[in-house]
Structures are given as structure tokens and as C-alpha cells.
Amino acid sequence: MKNNNDYFSFRWLLIMAWRDSRRSRSRLLLFISSVILGIAALVAIYSLGDNLTENINRQAATLLGADLEISSGRPIPETILPMLDSLGTDRSEERRFASMVYFPKNGGSRLAQIRALQGNYPYYGELETVPEAAGRAFRNAKAALVDQTLMLQYEANVGDSIKLGDVTFVIAGVLLKAPGQTGISTTVAPAVYIPLAYLEQTGLEQKGSRISYLHFFKYGIKENVEESVKKIKPRLEAEDLDSKTVESQKEETGRSFKDLTRFLSLVGFIALLLGCIGVASAVHIYIREKLNAIALLRCLGVKSTQAFMIYLIQIVGVGFLGSVLGAILGAVIQQFLPAVLKDFLPFELITSLSWAAVAQGIVLGTLISILFALLPLISIRNISPLRVLRASYETSTDANDPLRWLIYLVIGLFILGFTYLQTRDFKEALAFTGSVLGAFLILLGMATLLMRLVRRFFPTSWGYVWRQALANLYRPNNQTAILVISIGLGTAFICTLILVQSLLLNRVTLSTSGNQPNVVLFDIQSTQRQPVLDLAVRYGLPIIQSVPIVNMRLDQINGYTMADVQKDTTLRISKRVFGREYRVTFRDSLTSSEKITKGKWIEKAPADGPIPISMEEGFAQRNNLDIGDTLLFNVQGAPMSTQIASLREVDWNGIRTNFLVVFPQGVLEEAPQFHVLLTRINSTQSSATFQQAVVRQFPNISIIDLGLVLKVLDELLEKIGFVIRFMAGFSILTGLVVLISSVLISKYQRLQESVLLRTLGASRRQIFAITALEYFFLGALASVTGFLVALAGSYALARFSFETEFTVQVVPLLTVIFSVIGLTIAIGLANSRGILSRSPLEVLRQEA
């Protein structure tokens, strides 16, 4: 017998694939359209990643503004100054701290980040200001640069004045951008630049103030910065000074943006996966329609593998085409990403097309659409030629086909592999794959349950039009489940965002309800304490807490210094414990937000022996500290030997002072200290007048009020939310594309249904109502599924992570749900127009 392979010709398969696709090409492209958006998202994000790396490399120097930055939380020791003098060719100095800025013009005041600068910094890039010259000119006068958000908030103009401490500065210019600054960072701490020469006069630089001391260096062209830093590093570390070079800044910035693009690419990948499920479902329907043609080819002698190949070739073709279209769209979208991310970027992003990203997107898109299409395609192998004789002949069920399981496995491995390539962490990749699978299963489970319940409990007394519309969702070959999943997932993203946003804002608001404090005054000097208390009393405000704070550093733990810890890694003591400054209080009792979990609370220090202190439980655990450990603190030069006597659980919620370390009474009373005062002001108006009075009398005192916290939080969430909404948009759009493709795929079936109904006497209006209601049910199922998933997720977050009361803001959520339903109806109806307007006769002719 002649071997079958003899007439196997790949060329013929190509020709047959081409011929067979003749009348279905637009439909095939439609199937694949659901992956276009996913590919577009990925190409745009990959391209963004490449552009970011390129921009960071190019602009790293302007991010830092200098070749080297040396900084410390305390004044740079005199002993090290000669060494600093020897570095580079030019040096600038900056002191950075938080303080109140007072706008005399309208009496407004707000906490800002003051940067007192001396020298020619930045050496790379500019302090971008309006007018342009102000960025340099302010250094030579009693003038300031004020961040544009502050200028807008207090309606200030260039030429107006601001008061910092005891000095009034003329606003020389509006600060638009400083090296390393992002939209996010100016929201949290808007900056005000003043010349360093006037800092002393302001009186803001007092003992106990939290000031960062920075030195910026410029090197000559031929000097090797890295080499130079390597040499001085041991001395810098010994003095607890931090250093940053262009290279280290590049790495740090690169790392944080890698995290961002990684997160975005995973969200894009979810949109792609949703699209792929859409492809698999559409190809399944396509193959069902081709069953007769395939059976006939089998009758004519086509091998099962050849029949399979004919359709595989078609999918490869459209998969490739779809991916190319996706890549083109991605290249277009990429142009808009810098605008979306502008608040996160510390530099201006110049975009250019990354061919690597485009190639990556095309290969990924083609591969993944083939993989998912294989699921329905492999059933071709089991189509019997006998179908030609008997239309009702059912091919044996292929649910247990081992190849099917193999494809599931390959898909799973593909997702895992792709995620691994993004995260480079096998555990994370496994967790992501598991979560995606879990999320899809939960959505599917929820969708299935909801669909069953609706069907089961749908009131039979409702009119025919309603019942028919609902029944349409369950027509053979329906794509209801995938539509509910993809549209539902997008809805879930947006609903979660809204729920968490209100959860966070509520948490802050709730924490200050009742008699809880909502205003904090800090940096109060010991001499100012009583006058400030008197002022508060004059304004009729309650003194909820007045807390002394002493700054100190840690020199030894159980006799080991930082140098010992660096040498001996077996000590299991974190280096970070030494690097930080401790703000410590002393008192004889616990506050309402504290609870002793281990050891004994000591009220008063004993006359001799180590001082018994209390440490926050979480901090102790993180740093392997326990009861009995001895700690040697350095209180501004004076050593203090202590021992951990108790561990405390602290509730960090709310506006109040909480401490990692608490001393007993009788030790720190005479140490240099400052005070924090907590009070409660019930109206915004009296809050403003009180703040004004404090700033005028005690300009060094800083104030944070709840209004400011809420405002900052709200702005931050708004900015992060925009990015999440942008990505959720991809998921919803993919869902809608799947919807369009599903409506068009089932067009013929819908046409027949509608013609039959017309023949039976249904009016055009009734058919329209049935169609509109069908999409209403679909949109409602999808959005409610998404909402329920978001509700469950946010509830879990509120209950277990934020440990706060769970509240739901009804209006924005209802807006989302109804928007999704409205969009589904609109898109469904727009694509059904042809069906509604066709005459029955036309359809009969077409059928002939």
C-alpha cells in the first residue's frame, strides 16, 4: 500500500488553508482581535521599559544633579570636613527639613520641605523655575523658590513674600522641577528653596530639629568618581554618612522603575490571557461550524493530521497578523504612557519605538494565540468522516484526550515561564500563575453560580420578552462565561480601587472621630512648651497629649558595635538598627494604644544598673531583639546603658504619637528635647486661625492637621488610581472586544432567531427589546460578578490587613456598575443593527 505521506504536501495544506479561510477571514481576524489589546498593552509597556532604561542612563546625572552626594541625618562631623574639601572640583551644601511656610498675603500656612542651598548645585540639569533666571538668582538675595502646588494653593505670585521662621523671603520664582523630584514627591512634601546663608536667621535650625545635611560634589571630566568613592567609603560608613553617585542613583532608579514596568506588564499579560480565552472560545465555535467541511475532507482522503494542519495554519496566520496589529497599536499607545505616568517620573521621558519590544510582542502574541487555539483545534483529529452521512453523528467526547491535558500543561508552563521572565523569581512567578488561575476560577465559579441562580429563580411570571432575553444567554455555543469573566475582571479592578480608596480615607477619618486628636504640633522647644500650651488653652482647645521627645542613636547591642556586626555575619543583628536616629519618649504609664505583651512595664528607673526600657514588639522581632538584651544609646554625646524590660503591642492607627522605644521616668528629663502636642480642633476655620497664631508666634513649630493628611492621601490615591484605571481599562476593553466578536460570530444564529420571531409575528420593537435586554443581563451579570469579587477582596483587606471597619460607598460603585451595563448594551446593540434591520425574505434567499 502506498504510504499516506507520499501525498502529504505542505504546499497543498497552505493552499487549502487559504481557500478554506476565504469566507471567514474577517471573522478569523475578529477572533484574534481580542488579543490585539493585550499585545498592544505589552508592547507599549515593554517599549516604555526600554525607554525608561535608556532615559535613566542618559539622564542619571540630572537625577542626582551632581557626581556625588554625601548625606547624613546629623551635622557632618568637623573631623571629616577636610576630607570632603578634597573631593571633586566644586561643592554645594544643602540642609533639608520640614517646616511651616507662612503666606502673609492671605494668612495661609502649610508644612513644606525647606531646602537651604549654598553653591552651584545642580551641576547637571536645572532648578526649573518661572521666571527661568530665578533658579540661579535666588541664591544671592533674601529670596525663595516656592513649589508650584503651594503657589497655586495659596494664590501666591512671584514678588509676594513668604515667612520662614523669623525671616521673610521674597518669592523669586515658581519651582517647577528640581533634580530627582516627581509629581508624587511634591504632593507629599512641596519644596521651598532658600539660600543657606539665611537659615540661621530663621531660627529654625535648633537642637533636636530633624534636619538632613547634604553635600553635593562635582568632579572633573577625567576624575573617576566611583574609584574616589570606593576609597573614602570606609570612613563615610564609620561616620554613618550615606553616599550616592550617578551610578548608584542609576541603579536605584532603574530598580524602582523595573518594579513598575514589571507590575504593569503583568497587568497587561492578564488582559492578554483574557483575550486568549476569548480566542479559544471563538475558535471552538468556528471549528463547530466547519465540522461538515472537515468530515467531507476526511471522506475525500484527508488525514486527520492534515485536516488539523489546515486550520492550524489559519490560526497561525491570523495570530501573527493580530499580533502585528497589536504591536502597531502598542507603539501608538506608548506615546501616551509618559502622560499617564508623569507623576511617577523624576525626569522627562523621551519615547522612541523599541523594536525589541515590538518583536517580543509579535512572537508572544502568535505563540499564545496558537496555544489557546490548540484546545479547540485538536478536536479536529477526532472528527469522523461519517458525519457527512449523519449530521447527528457525535464524535466521541474528547474531554479525556491526553493531548488536551498536555496543552493545558503547556499553557500553564507558558504562563509560568512568561511570569518568571518578568519577575526573575520562581516563587513570585508561581504565586502569580497560581493567583491568575485562582482569580479566573473564582470569577468563573462566581459567574457560573450567578448564571445558574438567575436562571433558576427567574420569575416565570415575567413577560415573554424578558424571559426570551435571558434564555438567549444560554443559547448553544454561547460565550456568556468568558464575557462575564473578562468584563467582570475589569469591573473588579475598578471597584476594588474605589473600595480601597474609601477604606483608606475612612480609616483616617474614623481614627480621628470622637475625641481623638486631629492636629499635631511638633518641634516645640522646651522653652516654648508652656507658652504653646497656654495659647491652646486660650483658643479653648483640649491638650490631648503633650509628649517630650529625645533624639538618640544606638551604639551597641549586647556589647556589639556596628563594626562588629559588619565583620561577623553570624550575629543575626541587622545593620539598619545602628544607622537610624531614635526618637524616644519617657513616661510612667502606657497610653490607650499600647499593651504589654512580654516582660514588665517599669514606671521609674532604678537608682543603678541599666535603664529598663520598653520596645515595640514588631521592631524587636524584625531585629531579633528580646527581653534582657542590653542596648547602649548615645544621647547627643552622653552614653546610656539600657536593657529591654518589656515588649509592647502598639496600635499605629490614628493621629497620635507612638514610639519604638519608651524610657521610664527619671532619666531623660534633663536631656535636650523637643515636644509634641496633640489637640483636637472641630472646625476648619478655627483650625486655620489657631495654626496662623502658632506660626506667627512660634515659627519653628510645625503643624500637621487631618485636613492636610486627607488631602495628600486623596491626591496620592488619585494619581495611583489613574494608573490602575488605565490598566483596568485594557481588561474591560478586551472584554468588550470579545463581546463584539461574540455578537458577530453568533450573528447568523441571531438572524435566524429574529427572522423566526418576525415570521411568528413579533414586532421590530419586541425584537429590539429582547436584544437590548439580553445585553442588559450580560452586563449586569458581569458587573455584579466583578463587584462581588471586589467586595470580598476589599472586605478581606479591611478585616485582616487594615483592621478597620468595612464601609461601602454606594454611589461611585453604582456608577461603575451601571456604566459597565450601559457600555455592554450600547456595544451589543451597535453590533446587532444588521440583525434587527434584515427582512426575513433576504435571509431565506441567503440560506438557499
Binding site: F8, A293, C299, G301, S384, L386
Partner: protein
């Protein structure tokens, strides 16, 4: 004369509702090469099942089917496909043309599957024989039922099969068109010397063959030569 088709004690049992349903019961007969025969019987008698077994579209539960000295029971799916391509032609009640292919391409498919070259003239010649040379570039939807069946006739003969199976070839056609198609079927068959096995309800059509096998309840109730 040699036998092209031999069936020996063929049984076909389907599972239906958890019970065995015997559709063909102990069928044995032989068909001489180049002869014509018809299988007739009421609906549900097992005619189409029998045709499917003879043509290697399905497998018998027991017994053997031998086509052209090859036991079909011993062949796998791919070998059966090759055999169909090489030796068998089909005519179906509902024409079964590939909707995405033109008339000419439909006729060419069996030859293309064999990897034959220069097949267009032969396909055109066959279309001419069935009177459709001027419709060669039309798609099935652009052809009437009779025309579609004539294309399927041309296709059935294109690979010069040794045996042709026709399942109710006129079942979907009006009387006049049926007449033309039947005439063509027998003419082409005569010219090519092909064995013809017809399944039909139509006794007039059956009467035009040399032999009629009647099936009733899955068994041969009569086997008459004319």
C-alpha cells in the same frame, strides 16, 4: 469477474440509552468489480450504516469488510483515508461541496490530495462532461441544487475511483433535475467502468442498477439480480 467488495457476517451495534442497539445483523454479500447495485429499504433499516461500513467511514462491530482485497478492519484511520482517496468516490444527498472552494477547486481536491500535477485540464474536462464548464469559478452558494450535485459527480469521478458510493443522490432534487443527474451518473460510470453502490428510497432509480439488495431491520431481506 473479480469481487471488489466482500462483506462477511458483518454486525454493527450502537450503544443507545445504555442498551445495545443492533443496526446491522449478520450481513454478508459480495460485489463484482464494474457492476452496479442498489441498497434499498425503509428509513432506519440500516442502509446508510451499511454504506458507511463499505466505504471505510465506520468500523463494524464484528465480521469483516474487504475492499479491493484489503481488509478494512485491519487499517488505521490514516490508512483508511489513503484508501478512500485512492479507490473510492462519493456522492451525497446534500451534495457536500466545500463552501469556500469554487466548483473547479472542489473537483480538484481529491487529485490535489494525491499530489498529482496538471490537474486543472482534467477537472475542467469533468466539469464540461457534467455541463458546468462555464460555472467553474462559481462558489457552491452561487449554484442551484442540481448544479451542485453535478459538481459533486465530477468530483466523485475525478480520482478515477474503482468504486463509487452514492447516498440518496437525488434525495434533495426535483424530478426533472434528478433525471439529468441520474443520467450523468450512469453515463460517467459506464465510461469509467466504475463499480457503483447506490443507497436509495427511490425504487425507480434502484431499478436501473443490475442488482438490488433490500434491507429490513438490519438484515438482508432480499438480494435480486436484474
Amino acid at each position: 469477474m473479480t469481487n471488489i467488495l466482500t462483506l462477511q457476517q458483518v454486525n454493527k451495534i450502537y450503544q443507545s440509552g445504555g442498551r445495545d442497539l443492533k443496526v446491522l445483523d449478520d450481513i454478508s454479500f459480495t460485489v463484482e468489480a464494474g457492476s452496479t447495485m442498489a441498497i434499498v429499504g425503509p428509513s432506519g433499516s440500516g442502509k446508510t450504516t451499511l454504506l458507511g461500513l463499505c466505504a471505510g467511514l465506520d468500523r463494524s462491530t464484528s465480521g469483516s469488510v474487504e475492499l479491493n482485497n484489503t481488509r478494512l478492519n485491519d487499517l488505521n484511520e490514516n490508512q483508511l483515508a489513503a484508501l478512500r482517496n485512492r479507490s473510492i468516490g462519493f456522492i451525497f444527498q446534500n451534495f457536500q461541496l466545500l463552501p469556500t472552494l469554487t466548483a473547479l477547486e472542489n473537483v480538484m481536491v481529491p487529485l490535489e490530495l494525491r499530489g498529482e500535477k496538471n490537474i486543472r485540464p482534467l477537472a475542467l474536462e469533468l466539469l464540461e462532461k457534467v455541463g458546468l464548464a462555464n460555472r467553474s469559478h462559481h462558489y457552491p452558494t452561487q449554484l442551484s441544487g442540481g448544479e451542485q450535485q453535478r459538481v459533486s459527480l465530477a468530483r466523485a469521478f475525478s480520482n478515477q475511483p474503482q468504486i463509487l458510493f452514492a447516498d440518496e443522490p437525488t434525495g434533495n432534487l426535483d424530478a426533472e433535475t434528478s433525471e439529468i443527474v441520474i443520467q450523468l451518473l450512469f453515463d460517467l460510470n459506464r465510461q469509467a467502468g466504475t463499480t457503483l453502490v447506490l443507497v436509495t428510497h427511490d425504487l425507480d432509480l434502484a431499478a436501473q442498477t443490475q442488482r438490488i439488495i433490500k434491507i429490513k431491520g438490519g438484515k438482508i431481506s432480499s438480494d435480486e439480480k436484474q
